[in-house]
């Protein structure tokens, strides 16, 4: 087969270099803008972790946008300016590669990802949210409280977080039980996460915090809220039929308001707490138990404060 390809010219023309330079600059400017805007793609930041996580996210969006716009721009340019004529069956430039270029585009990404990895590890270590995970032996009768290891750096806690199919219960150091998680602002709060049945996920988007709760273990976890308000707490790990409804709120309050709530709750009688699944399951039974298999929901916990689930939340 004889070659029908055009011969490549030696060296890159100046015009091309100028076009590339302009494109790179435009790409960088656009990426910077997108990175700035990306802060608005996240929920309101409400913990000390949020600035770190959001900062890392912005950097990644910026780099990602640069790469995406650059590559997509290149593809569009090629498709517009390198189209074959309708009946042109000839070959393109017979370029098999360029080892220097190939090594460059192996090394630069390598350095870039290692920098990102270092950043990510640095942020993780700084946040130091995750504490030890202790297994306890269910058969010998030990319970989460017998093996818990609170955080030495905590300012408040430990708060027992009990996850069930499908409700949440929070037990405070003074014995108060609640369906909503109240926290004092600007204090590092420690949680002891445990589950009575299956894996659940302790997820507060506003805090940038997520930790799976493993049955048979107690996991120590700490976070410092930095903004007053009401935020969503969602079960993030699939836990069965009414998993979507296993949600409650986190209420971050000033130290005084928090103490007042704690005292008020300590004086309140125990009532059934928030458990949307209970009502939904009862509806299902009333309609003839149609649908696929599910375990019965755990009974709602008896709590001092069942919360105000209809109150609007910020994130």
């Amino acid at each position: 087969m004889t070659s029908t390809a055009p011969k490549p010219s030696g060296g890159l023309p100046v015009r091309l270099l100028v076009v590339v330079l302009v494109a790179v600059v435009l790409d960088a400017l656009a990426s910077l803008q997108i990175a700035r805007a990306s802060l608005g793609w996240l929920p309101v930041p409400a913990s000390t972790a949020a600035p770190y996580v959001d900062g890392l996210f912005q950097v990644e969006v910026g780099i990602g946008a640069f790469i995406f716009l650059g590559c997509t721009g290149f593809i569009l340019w090629a498709v517009i300016f390198n189209r074959a004529e309708k009946y042109d069956e000839s070959d393109g430039l017979p370029i098999e590669g360029n080892p220097k270029l190939e090594i460059t585009w192996t090394l630069i990404p390598f350095v870039l990802v290692m920098v990102l990895a270092y950043q990510a590890i640095h942020v993780s270590e700084t946040l130091a949210a995750l504490g030890p995970k202790e297994k306890y032996d269910l058969e010998s009768g030990s319970s989460p409280t017998t093996v818990e290891r609170p955080d030495v750096r905590q300012s408040y806690g430990p708060i027992q977080v009990l996850a069930r199919q499908w409700n949440w219960e929070f037990v405070y150091p003074n014995g108060v039980r609640s369906s909503e998680l109240h926290l004092p602002i600007d204090q590092r709060a420690n949680f002891q996460l445990s589950s009575e049945d299956v894996i659940h996920g302790f997820y507060v988007p506003a805090f940038r915090l997520k930790q799976d709760i493993i049955p048979g273990s107690v996991i120590s976890y700490s976070i410092t809220p930095t903004r007053e308000g009401r935020y969503r707490l969602r079960d993030s790990h699939f836990s069965g039929a009414y998993f979507s409804q296993n949600q409650t709120d986190v209420v971050v309050q000033s130290a005084d308001a928090f103490q007042a709530w704690l005292d008020q709750a300590a004086r309140s009688p125990l009532v059934p707490g928030l458990s949307q699944a209970t009502g939904l399951y009862a509806d299902r039974l009333a309609k003839g138990d149609k649908g696929w298999a599910t375990v019965k929901p755990a009974p709602p916990p008896m709590v001092n404060d069942p919360g105000t689930p209809d109150a609007p939340h910020e994130a």
Binding site: K135, Y136, E139, S140
Partner: protein
Amino acid sequence: MTTANPDLPLNHRPGHIKHDGHNLTGFIIFLCSESIIFLAFFSGFALLKITAPEWLPEGVEGLETRLPLINTVVLVSSSFVAYFAERYLHKENLWGFRALWLLTMAMGTYFVYGQYVEWSHLPFALDSGVFGGTFYLLTGFHGLHVITGILLMALMLFRSFRPNNYAKGEMGVTAVSLFWHFVDVIWIILYILIYVWQRTT
């Protein structure tokens, strides 16, 4: 058989690609893959043992090691017997091959019997917590492989009576032999993990 026009000029040597003779390659690849299932079970066993709050079930002190050790010796020796059987086959001494091959099968059968005897005397069951589950799963899965090995050997033995069975090579015997050695190595690791490495607490 080609649909090509026979009048076309041929300016090359027609190449050929062998249709067969790849069985041993395929079998070795299969064995490598199979070993990973055991690796998965071994690592699961080790992890559960190290992290379980209560490893042994109520009333169980540990495992007896004497009988399993005898079984181990028998099984490992059978690998050597199988090796010599292969040597006889290579030297075309069919009756020598068959005798030692049958001996290998007998030793393997003894191993399976010994495993059954051990199982029937154990004070715990499959559902006796994480220890019972891992013990029976590992030894049972291995035992299944031993039984499979014995059956494959029986097939090879039966085939050896076919006239001209080895005209195209002894690949079947080589493969089954390899399988037997594999089963052996797995057992050695298993024995060390389960019987030698017992918790002192």
